[in-house]
């Protein structure tokens, strides 16, 4: 694959989902630099690994949510973020748009959806 994607960070408080997404990414040829279940852990891993892409769930363990983590990551590393959420509610979407999401995917997400979203980002040169 001719891309400059170094690694992808997966953030989801459901371990099985994080694992499933990781497998999907690996099958697409990406490296997964870690999975996080909390916003704090996500920010920490992003600082450490400087990923080229973050898959971000909105609902996370703890008091901060995925948008908090995304804003912080954006501020520190500028990494593009694809949100993955189970909710299509206006409140959630409005909250996601506080950040500048690279894309929004709605659960359940198939590997094909993920692949397409990443391909779009590559086309626009975001990653």
């Amino acid at each position: 694959m001719n891309h400059a994607v170094t690694c992808v960070l997966v953030v989801d408080d459901e371990q099985l989902i994080a694992l499933g997404l990781s497998i999907a990414l690996r099958d697409m040829g990406f490296q997964v630099c870690g999975t996080a279940a909390t916003a704090a852990r996500a920010v920490e891993l992003a600082r450490e690994h400087r990923p080229s892409l973050v898959l971000m769930d909105v609902r996370l363990k703890g008091s901060s949510d995925g948008v908090d983590a995304a804003l912080e990551i954006h501020r520190t590393t500028g990494t593009p973020i694809i949100f993955i959420t189970g909710s299509r509610e206006p409140e959630t979407l409005a909250r996601i748009h506080l950040d500048h999401p690279a894309d929004i995917l709605f659960k359940p997400v198939l590997p094909a959806h993920l692949e397409k979203a990443i391909a779009r980002l590559k086309e626009t040169g975001a990653i």
Binding site: L19, G20, L21, A37, G86, F106
Partner: protein
């Protein structure tokens, strides 16, 4: 006869029934009045006070009372248009007109020693025509009440009948006036001085007889059943006394003559007093009804206010409940989608670690996991608050399911479940249930080689140090391959079991003395709903 019959409630006066007490009072009154009159009769001819104003007062009083009574009877007639009522009204109008003529023709009533109209003979003739005519008309009215004769007017004829009766009465009175006051050479002299001639006395006795006949007719025909006719009966007794006293007195200003004027006034006033009594009663009941109406109105308004407040409160509650329901529904949908993603992930993880596993075994494992998710939701649905449930029966049922859905039952492996009572929510029950599913499946598949006494024990206990301990033990060979579980995750070093342990913030250790024992220690706070 139709007297006691209340005619659709439109007979406010005539239709008034009488109580036995009222009938008794009326009877006693009639008897007393007649007795008093009889007692006075022997002294009737004695000279009484000479009061010229008696006639003026008497005549004017009778005029007003009879006019009012006639008018009220006419009103009554318009309500219940029967012939008796019309005749009675005519009788009173006639009497009123004759009373007026009596005063006008009576010498000294208006101007000293001379009549205002006619000549000295006129007053005698007018008086006789009056006192005979009135009881005749009353008698006719009462007789007309008798059922075979009773006539009711059609509504549309009431106006014409009223006008006709009034005009007819006026014409008769006018004719009488002309006949008695103009040239009456053709009329015999019936006053000698201020005393009636013998046949004039006979005429007065005839008036007494007619009054008595009218009274008897009231008793026989109406049988005291109508209050109006009861009082008419008393009026007839008084009218009879009026004439009897006058004729017994013989001349003006005797005791009999003076008292006869009083009795005449009483006679004409009785029905008016009766009507006034009825008005007073109606007025009272009307005032009472208005008061009740106002109270009822206030109560009603109060109830409307209360009801409106209740409805508004209930509306607010409903809206709140609706909002809560929407929130809950969204939450449920969110969880459904999340669970679908979990299932998708499980399939992905399983696919990554496929190896040489037979496809039917892979699919069976998947179905067990999906079934475990379904079992959690079933517990939630059956719970009272729809949010939490006791984990013990859930694990028991899960164990039972696994015993025949895995190879357990087929191969004679007993799966025993033991659990402390613990109230948990969805977020804890799903990873716990999946963990038990994985560990039991793995034990059944990999732990045993020989055929005898094989058992898997699942146990969840709450330890004194506030940790939960999940243990899955088998009495198998303490197989190789790590633990009783198979790590998957294709290169991430993570399998479903490890992912679930992380999900629960748990710590897992494995020992293999006398079979395999997997122990997972979970902080109690994870289980709290």
């Amino acid at each position: 006869m139709g007297m006691g019959v209340v005619n659709g409630g439109v007979e406010p006066f005539r239709g008034e029934g009488t109580s036995p007490a009222e009938r008794r009072i009326i009877g006693v009154l009639c008897a007393a009045y007649a007795a008093a009159t009889l007692m006075i009769l022997p002294f009737a001819a004695d000279p009484g006070p000479v009061v010229p104003a008696v006639t003026t007062t008497f005549g004017t009083g009778v005029l007003i009372a009879d006019l009012c009574t006639g008018y009220l009877l006419l009103v009554q007639f318009r309500a219940v248009p029967s012939l008796p009522m019309l005749l009675l009204a005519v009788a009173y109008f006639y009497s009123a007109a004759m009373a007026l003529l009596h005063v006008l023709a009576f010498p000294g009533a208006w101007i000293p020693d001379a009549p205002l109209i006619g000549n000295p003979q006129s007053v005698g003739w007018l008086f006789i025509v009056w006192i005979v005519g009135f009881p005749v008309l009353v008698l006719a009215a009462v007789v007309a009440e008798a059922s075979p004769l009773r006539v009711e007017f059609a509504r549309r004829h009431v106006g014409r009948a009223t006008t006709g009766a009034v005009i007819g009465t006026l014409m008769v009175v006018a004719a009488i006036t002309l006949a008695t006051t103009a040239e009456q050479a053709w009329l015999p002299q019936q006053l000698q001085g201020n005393v009636f001639a013998a046949w004039g006395n006979a005429a007065q006795w005839m008036a007494v007889a007619l009054s008595l006949a009218a009274f008897v007719a009231v008793v026989v025909i109406t049988r005291w059943r109508s209050l109006l006719y009861c009082w008419l009966g008393v009026a007839m007794i008084a009218f009879m006394a009026f004439n009897a006293l006058a004729v017994s007195g013989g001349a003006r200003y005797t005791v009999g003559w003076d008292l006869s004027r009083v009795s005449g006034l009483v006679s004409s006033s009785l029905l008016l007093v009766f009507f006034l009594g009825q008005f007073a009663r109606l007025q009272r009941s009307l005032a009472g009804a208005l008061l009740r109406l106002r109270t009822a109105n206030e109560t009603l308004e109060q109830r409307i206010v209360e009801r409106t407040e209740e409805l508004q409160a209930s509306n607010r509650n409903l809206q709140k409940a609706l909002a809560e329901r929407n929130v809950l529904l969204r939450e449920v949908y969110h969880r459904v989608k999340n669970n679908l993603q979990v299932i998708d992930s499980i399939i992905a993880i399983q696919a990554a670690g496929l190896g040489a596993t037979p496809p039917e075994e892979v699919l069976n494992d998947l179905r067990n996991r999906v079934h475990t998710l379904g079992l959690v939701h079933q517990q939630l649905m059956a719970s009272d608050d729809l949010e939490t449930f006791d984990v013990a029966p859930f694990l028991t049922e899960l164990g039972a399911n696994l015993s025949f859905s895995t190879a357990g039952e087929r191969t004679g492996i007993a799966i025993a479940v033991e659990s402390d009572r613990l109230i948990v929510g969805l977020d804890f029950a799903i990873p716990l249930g999946l963990l038990v599913t994985e560990l039991v499946s793995n034990a059944v598949k990999h732990a045993f080689s020989d055929e005898s006494g094989r058992a898997v024990r699942v146990r969840l206990e709450r330890r004194p140090d506030d940790a939960l301990l999940l243990s899955v033990a088998d009495n198998g060979r303490g197989h190789t391959g790590g633990q009783g579980t198979m790590p998957g995750g294709g290169g991430f070093g993570l399998g479903i079991v490890e992912a679930l342990v992380i999900q629960l913030d748990g710590k897992m250790d494995t020992s293999s003395a006398g079979g395999t024992l997997v122990r997972i220690c979970i902080p109690f706070s994870k289980a709290e709903p």
